[in-house]
Symmetry: C2
Subunit: 164 residues, 2 copies
DNA sequence: AATGATATGTTATACTATTACATTTTCAAA
DNA sequence: TTTGAAAATGTAATAGTATAACATATCATT
């Protein structure tokens, strides 16, 4: 069972390039923030970047296990949590799955577009200052720390494939 | 363990009134859309309304079991899915929990504000036409069917309680 | 080298959700 | 009003997701 899909933002792109550049970005981030870029953590980020899809924690764990890392759930969850904390991996709540960030700029607000036709997950960005969510929260006096924005529907390709 | 919280929208309100009026709204909706308002379903909605919090499916199930309804998970999940489909219950993805809708007007776009201090879940609304999420999606040619908007942070009370 | 903090590995368990199938209830057509 | 199909319920079994607790190992300083 693997309902997680591609994250290609509905476009072709140079995948090899985005993997290496994302890894470099991770390295400099860790150096800068004095975070430890350990083998498990590095491998988890690589797997997510290579796979280029939303992956369940147990999918990631299978990879780690096969490569001689620890084989129990906490191994995967800890590395995933590390990257989520660092902002280089996002959790797609609706899928209970994790995806490497494709817009690794600080302070961005990801919007995940989940296609129910092909299970692709594309990451877009929303302007935080110009958003109904922020307005609703500030109207209530609520101080936002994290935001979840996910939409489900049909990507351009699947709209053509399915008539209605 | 019960991390789910209140849904009072951070204000006092007339709770007894909102329960009965929400039930009436449910009755007319079911009559109008020819949905079957069965005992389990009614009871599940009542429980969510009375409790006035985000509840896990198993919390709801415990109530049903204690009242002589079926005791297995599908009993709760089916009734919850029924109401989610009808739009009178929402799932809070970040909590894996369900909450009765407090803005039962058709076509609204809920925004859930989850306080990490007191576990309260308040439902606000966002203008669907005026949103960064919709803009990001339409820029990508994505056709939205459902939207998840959730924020986590501190409610007004908890902001005062915790200095930083 | 000693020490304290951080990270890893494992066991066990808790929590969330669905599949599959038997039974009952409902509703409408004959 | 019977009856037959569809919908709803009940249960058992299992799948999928996540964390607590604790032992061991590694790292970054003294």
């Amino acid at each position: 069972m693997n309902k997680q899909g591609d994250t290609t933002s509905f476009r072709a792109h140079k995948h090899a390039h985005c993997v290496t550049s994302a890894l470099q970005a991770a390295e400099s981030l860790c150096a800068q923030k004095k975070l430890r870029l350990t083998p498990v953590r590095r491998r988890v980020l690589e797997v997510l970047l290579e796979r280029h899809r939303a992956m369940g924690a147990y999918d990631v764990l299978d990879r780690l296990r096969a490569e001689g890392f620890g084989s129990q759930p906490p191994v995967a969850y800890r590395a995933l949590d590390f990257w989520v904390g660092a902002g280089l991996v996002h959790k797609v709540q609706k899928l209970n799955a994790f995806v490497a960030c494709t817009h690794p700029s600080s302070g961005h607000q990801p919007v995940f577009m989940i296609c129910r036709g092909c299970d692709t997950v594309a990451e877009g960005t929303a302007d935080p200052a110009d958003s109904a969510v922020e307005r609703a929260a500030s109207a209530a006096g609520f101080r936002i720390e994290t935001t979840v924005r996910e939409v489900e529907g049909l990507c351009p390709k699947c709209q053509k494939a399915t008539p209605q």
